[in-house]
Symmetry: C2
Subunit: 246 residues, 2 copies
């Protein structure tokens, strides 16, 4: 028996999603919650790793419960025990070996930049005092849409060999005093969205020519792109699973 | 010499704006910051009291500095010392006896209700699972626009005698999975916005007839209105000072 839950979380309270030697992670916390509910160790598997301080509106997680609890009651039990920074939205039974991580059709991330710092949004928005030229950012962004080797947009700290990914959407919009960057794709390399955002910001500030994005992409070299934008502006907004959440 | 600063703050970190016997307040914190900058006790006076857990995008505060520091440097000094939950947006010199509290032309509050709970927004939005009928809420809201005795919308815990206030705007809008209530007026009684919101929610849920708002208003009796909505959905959005921020 395998159960899949959909959770959202406030990344500002955690050192990322996946378990790691140091710091409190979402997976650690949720694991403890499941251990308490089932009164034994329950292993869990997520659909997406998010970095330290990155929040998520959706994250699919599967686990094999040692005994049956109705999905609605699993949701209630998790929300009764979990800290307020984690919220379970739904639970459902899935096929025995189903792994959401291997069944992601596409994911959408949103990155928010504000030119008006407000303490209440400090865990959600990246503050850039200067006005950004959204049109220039979009010109640069357009070069990345499609299937490419994103080697220039991948942290050097990775063992991944195949850096070909498909971006289906990459939009840059001005909304009040904010610039919102939305990116959808079949998968993302380590720090890929944050490096893309950091590079688009350089175009928006007028410090780099947006058409240079083509050369940056072609180089397949991390050092050709610009600084990684900070984690707290990033939100994992949506995950479309194959044949699941239709 | 009198200085006026404009600050914003994350109300989730404080027990309201004004100093009080128990709990950490915005005024206490900011007072300590000014004491450190000027190396002596500096009294400060705000333009608006906000309740515990209520955030503000704007709050005007005046104080009489014992010696001159340029406005830009006051801003920098405050932001260097203050916790991240308080941010100083600007500073300016004002007339010696100027009190922003006595010069408010109008204030705007925003209240946000969400039907989709997300941990990252839990300090900003009030979660109401049921769908709210925005049109019914607006019908009820329309009765309050204008100059009225708002005795039905004032906490019983107040000594204020004159409960006549003018509401110039009261809108209820659906935005994605949220309902946003925006209210502007020349002044607000204790808990007034939150009682208005709590009453509009009853209309939105279909539990009360929105046209009953007329009788609730006429009664001038707190017990005729509905429950006070929770503080964390409320934001002090804007303050228009007479002859100041044009």
């Amino acid at each position: 028996m395998r159960v899949m839950i959909d959770i959202s979380y406030d990344g500002s309270q955690f050192e990322g999603f996946a378990s790691q030697p140091h710091g409190r992670t979402v997976a650690d916390n949720l694991g403890e919650v499941l251990n308490r509910i089932y009164k034994q160790k329950v292993n869990l598997y997520g659909s997406s790793r998010t970095d330290s301080k990155v929040s998520a509106k959706t994250q699919y997680i599967v686990f094999d419960p040692p005994f049956e609890i109705k999905p609605d009651n699993i949701v209630r039990a998790i929300n009764a025990i979990a800290p307020k920074s984690i919220y379970c939205k739904s639970a459902q039974l899935v096929a025995d070996r189903y792994m959401p991580r291997h069944n992601v059709e596409y994911k959408t991330y949103k990155y928010t930049i504000t030119s008006e710092y407000a303490p209440i949004y400090r865990h959600i928005e990246y503050y850039v005092r200067q006005q950004l030229d959204v049109e220039k950012m979009q010109i640069g962004a357009n070069y990345l849409i499609g299937t490419h080797d994103f080697g220039s947009f991948c942290s050097a700290n990775t063992d991944i060999e195949d850096k070909v990914r498909t971006i289906t959407k990459l939009s840059v919009e001005a909304v009040n005093n904010r610039v919102v960057i939305t990116v959808s794709g079949d998968g993302f390399l380590y720090n890929m969205v944050r490096i893309i955002v950091g590079t688009l910001i350089e175009f928006g500030l007028g410090k780099a020519d947006p058409h240079s994005m083509n050369q940056i992409l072609e180089a397949k070299d991390r050092s050709k792109a610009y600084a990684t934008a900070p984690a707290h502006g990033l939100m994992l907004e949506y995950i479309q699973l194959e044949g699941q959440n239709d």
